[in-house]
């Protein structure tokens, strides 16, 4: 049987490899799944009998919990493995960890790893579905998908919008996934941050580079404000958090000068008063908590599609259960 064109294939490693149609079908599939989380009994039998391992080799709260909710609400059996308190601290390699999990007959692995390429590395070596929950500075596809869904919810389109990603682009997997996803869906993409935190040659990816936050705000319909990792100061990329806020912080005063209402996203966790001020984060243009809500639906959609689900049947699957 030939696979339908919107099929994701075995894994979700990044948005760079996906087509526009594949990305849209994930977003469309997420729509019917949103409603599950609003029910009194938040559980449907879509992934009943599937075993999913959440392999988080790097600290994560939001993403790990979001995946876990998505899995549990779809009735999958889940196991969580962290970097501490597991065989990883005993020096086991990623390949060996994966092979051992595989030997216990699992269906999917959701992996977070500090090394770029780790998710694809795993995907090539095990037959289970692999979902990238963030690999080094490479990609964080489900974060970008939930960002896309949130933008589409709020502004009813993505094509033709001007979206500027602000902050540490160099080290950000969220930025890369957003750039690939937004460009594929026809948005214009800008990046803004100190030159020390922009990769050399980033413009060759097809993005506009802003050196001043004021110019980015004047241009953009949407700002996706990235967390400034505090260790970037030790790395000498920025002289101080105070100075960063002063020149790159998204503040009320700066937003007030914008020619239009700019939608504000942030992948969290926020450093209030550094990359974003509290009155912006909590203000009317912020959709930061909607992103978190959408995260669960998007992850449900990804798990459902990788398990062999078809977008058109998502609604029915919620009632009848199963993807077979």
């Amino acid at each position: 049987m030939s696979r339908p064109t919107f099929s994701l294939g075995k894994d979700l490693v990044g948005l760079e490899e996906l087509s526009r149609e594949q990305i849209l079908s994930i977003l469309d599939t997420a729509e019917p799944f949103k409603e599950i989380s609003e029910r009194r009994i938040k559980k449907v039998p879509v992934l009943r009998g599937k075993t999913i391992v959440n392999l988080f080799m790097e600290p994560s709260t939001r993403t790990r919990i979001s995946f876990e909710f998505a899995e549990k609400r779809l009735s999958a059996d889940t196991v969580n493995i962290g970097a501490t308190g597991s065989s990883v601290v005993k020096g086991e390699t990623l390949v060996d960890t994966a092979r051992n999990l595989e030997a216990m007959r699992i269906d999917m692995v959701v992996i977070r790893h500090r090394s770029s390429g780790a998710a694809g590395f795993l995907a090539e070596r095990i037959p289970s579905n692999v979902v990238n929950a963030g690999d080094g500075s490479h990609e964080h596809p489900t974060q970008a998908l939930l960002d896309l869904l949130t933008i589409r919810d709020e502004l009813e389109r993505i094509e033709g919008l001007k979206v500027c990603i602000v902050g540490d682009i160099l080290h950000s997997r969220v930025a890369r996934s957003n750039i690939f996803g937004l460009l594929k869906l026809g948005a214009e993409v800008g990046v803004c941050g100190p030159m020390t935190l922009l990769p050399l040659g980033i413009d060759a990816l097809g993005v506009k580079v802003f050196r001043k936050i004021e110019e980015a705000i004047e241009w953009a319909d949407v700002l996706n404000v990235l967390r400034l990792q505090l260790e970037r100061m030790q790395g000498g990329f920025v002289p101080s958090l105070r100075e960063y806020n002063r020149f790159y912080g998204v503040t009320r005063r700066r937003l007030d000068k914008a020619p239009r209402d700019v939608l504000i996203l942030h992948p969290g966790p926020m450093n209030r008063g550094v990359e974003i001020d509290s009155d912006v984060a909590d203000g009317p243009q912020s959709v930061i908590l909607k992103q978190v809500t959408n995260g669960v639906a998007v992850r449900m959609a990804v798990l459902y599609l990788l398990a062999g689900g078809v977008p058109e049947h998502a609604e029915a699957a919620k009632k009848g259960g199963g993807v077979e």
Partner: protein, 432 residues
């Protein structure tokens, strides 16, 4: 005990030093070149090798090889590394000192020489460290290292960041007439980079080493060499501006020689796409304009020697996420085939130039015997079948390392007979 006389009959003998390129017999007696000429008669007891349609050239020399022993025997040993060298047509290699322990004392130099003699596959010239433990602080006892058999010094694997130390090394080594070889990398610019810094690294989300990290260091080394009059050898040059800096320094009369590695001549950072750890080495694969500049540098002689930077690793070490895998690729068994197929065959490089870069000039740069077939020179000869077709298959390597970016490449031309001191150390089996 000297070997039986060996008569290589009817091959195309190329000896750039004598401007020689014709079909001749070559006779080796008592481990040395005895004579070359037409229809030589074999002395009694001589072994005769038919070399019709084959090339007979001075033994190939690789001045940049990591044999890993002592301390890294799971990656390679002196025995397996030299076996690989012989299979690749090399009759001599220079062994890098970044082992454990570091080759920074007469005893460790002696160990490498002794182990190589015992293995017997090719000559091994140890290269000593510039600084004790390669820590970049205090000069090694360079004179004693040379007396023990070291032919050069380098902190390769590391970079000499202290310009003052580099100056002292370039001054002090002159008394012993050896080159100071440097791995040119400004670590404060390359930092935690794991590949070339550029568009590909931006896409993959991998930290990069910019060209400038190499350019700055090459420029510094050239200026310090100019200041001191010392003999500088720059290892594995990979950047366009690096090549240009060397070209202009040579024009000013600076005593410098330099290397190009096959992977930098044939691949760019695009080969890293998909996080291929077999395309991870240091310096990294750069961009097309760099690749082209390194090719031109090797063609016009700005880069004097082809050197493989053979850097074997255990497969488990390369079977990791890209940033976690070690730097390095193997090269001894593929270098000649790659050069013949991709440079000589399409007419970009003459056979003579190839022999110069792979034999004559390596011998000159490191002041070691060989590089010629003139009478009385060492009986180190490589016999090449220029039309032998083969495919790069790491499982067939004699090296313990399997880490090559050239797996599956179809090549034409390879060494079929390697002769060291008049003894055959490798005979390539007939193709099926």
């Amino acid at each position: 005990m000297s070997p039986r006389p060996l008569l290589l009959k009817g091959g195309r003998v190329i000896d750039p030093e004598r401007e020689l390129d014709e079909v001749l017999d070559l006779l080796l007696v008592e481990g040395k070149v005895a004579r070359s000429g037409r229809d030589l008669t074999a002395p009694e007891g001589a072994k005769i090798e038919e070399c019709r349609d084959l090339l007979v050239v001075p033994g190939l020399i690789d001045v940049h090889v990591h044999l890993r022993e002592p301390g890294g025997e799971h990656k390679e040993t002196i025995a397996t590394g030299t076996r690989a060298a012989a299979a690749g047509g090399f009759t001599a290699v220079c062994a890098m000192p970044n082992t454990d322990p570091v080759i920074d004392s007469p005893a460790t130099v002696g160990f490498v020489s002794a182990a190589a003699r015992e293995a017997g596959h090719c000559r091994v010239y140890p290269v000593g460290a510039i600084s004790i433990g390669q820590r970049g602080e205090q000069l090694t006892e360079i004179g004693e290292l040379v007396q023990a058999g070291a032919v050069a010094i380098t902190d390769d694997g590391h970079s000499v960041m202290d310009s003052g130390l580099m100056r002292r090394a370039l001054e002090y080594a002159q008394a012993f007439d050896i080159p100071v070889a440097d791995h040119p990398e400004d670590l404060s610019l390359s930092r935690d980079g794991v590949m070339n810094e550029g568009l590909v690294s931006a896409r993959l989300g991998l930290p990069g080493k910019p060209n400038a990290s190499e350019d700055v260091h090459i420029a510094r080394d050239l200026l310090v060499a100019e200041l001191t009059g010392g003999r500088l050898h720059l290892q594995h040059v990979s950047t366009r501006l690096g090549v240009e800096a060397i070209r202009s320094a040579k024009a000013r009369g600076v005593r410098v020689t330099a290397e190009a590695a096959p992977h930098h001549l044939l691949l760019t950072d695009e080969a890293v796409g998909g996080y291929r750890t077999d395309a991870k080495m240091n310096p990294p694969l750069r961009t097309e304009s760099d690749r082209e500049a390194v090719v031109n540098g090797l063609l016009d002689g700005t880069l004097d020697t082809l050197a493989t930077d053979h850097a074997p690793h255990h497969y488990e070490e390369k079977e990791q996420a890209f940033a976690d895998a070690p730097f390095g690729v193997v090269g001894l068994e593929t270098a000649l085939g790659l050069m013949l197929t991709h440079f000589v065959e399409p007419g970009r490089m003459s056979l003579r130039t190839l022999i110069e870069r792979m034999s004559v000039q390596p011998a000159q740069a490191f002041g070691i015997p060989g590089g010629t077939l003139v009478e009385g020179s060492p009986g180190d000869v490589t016999v090449i079948d220029p039309s032998r077709e083969w495919t790069v298959d790491p499982d067939a390597f004699r090296s313990r390392g399997r880490n090559t970016p050239f797996t599956g490449w179809a090549l034409r031309g390879r060494a079929v007979l390697t002769v060291v001191g008049g003894r055959i150390t490798h005979r390539e089996p007939e193709a099926d």
